[in-house]
Symmetry: C2
């Protein structure tokens, strides 16, 4: 089969970065623990100082247990507008490895400060004992900018 | 760990059905072929005559090859509104098995007729040679209706 993906260029790199920088939430795909089936759920998103996606997740959520068992995961970001075919709006798939950050570490404190600056309403639950930050180390991405406009991006293409 | 999910009741069953019936698109989580890592992408959605989710997918899309290799998948449906915390808006995770429908079969023709009635704009590409219908047989679901309102639903809870 012909590779249907186009190589990244300056425009598509910038488009992908803009989607990451503006994402307030995304769909997180994980492997269900003890099985070989995926699951998917909505999570809040911001970025760390390096521009990588970060979330704040509860131990009570199924996705957190899944990420503890298998860090390999994927994020879908970029929302369709209210009008028109939802598949004409750009969106980005990121293949990632999730890193759960232990509370009480300098890394936690730095992420907490930035996250609450970017997402002040998360202050309502950020300090609940069951919440932890998770950073998504991006391996590669697929930008879909509409029919026939699919672009494969490397981690380097996606760096700030 | 205490099970954080509530049992379904008439109200949450109706809420889940309304999300399925009104979904025009969703996030599809699949297993990447040849690996143990998930991926996730946006797909269009409608329903079949039994109220189960249906999409129209291209063989050129990575998710189609993934579903051919491993039918186990998951759908996230229900969009956040433009305002407020995205995690306060209801959304539904469906754990499914994907059934790709061969073109030129009576099943294809029935799904095509219904899909184009519900999504007339899909007529632009429904008859392209690389497109097929896929039906998602739902095993179970998780409704998240906001903080502290997570509900586990069986396939029966989700039937019409």
């Amino acid at each position: 089969m012909t590779d249907p993906y186009l190589p990244a260029d300056a425009k598509t790199r910038a488009q992908a970065r803009a989607l990451i920088d503006s994402a307030r939430h995304g769909a997180l795909a994980v492997l269900q623990p003890g099985g070989l089936a995926p699951s998917v759920s909505r999570i809040s998103l911001a970025t760390d100082a390096q521009g990588m996606p970060v979330s704040l997740v509860s131990s009570l959520a199924a996705h957190t247990a899944a990420l503890e068992a298998t860090p390999a995961c994927a994020l879908l970001i970029g929302e369709p507008g209210a009008k028109g075919d939802p598949l004409t709006h750009p969106r980005l798939t990121l293949h990632c490895s999730a890193q759960l950050i232990p509370r009480g570490t300098p890394e936690h404190d730095a992420l907490r400060a930035r996250y609450l600056m970017l997402r002040p309403k998360a202050g309502l639950y950020a300090d609940f004992g069951d919440f932890r930050f998770v950073r998504f180390a991006v391996a590669d991405g697929l930008l879909n900018a509409g029919f026939g406009k699919a672009v494969r991006l490397s981690a380097e293409d996606l760096s700030t």
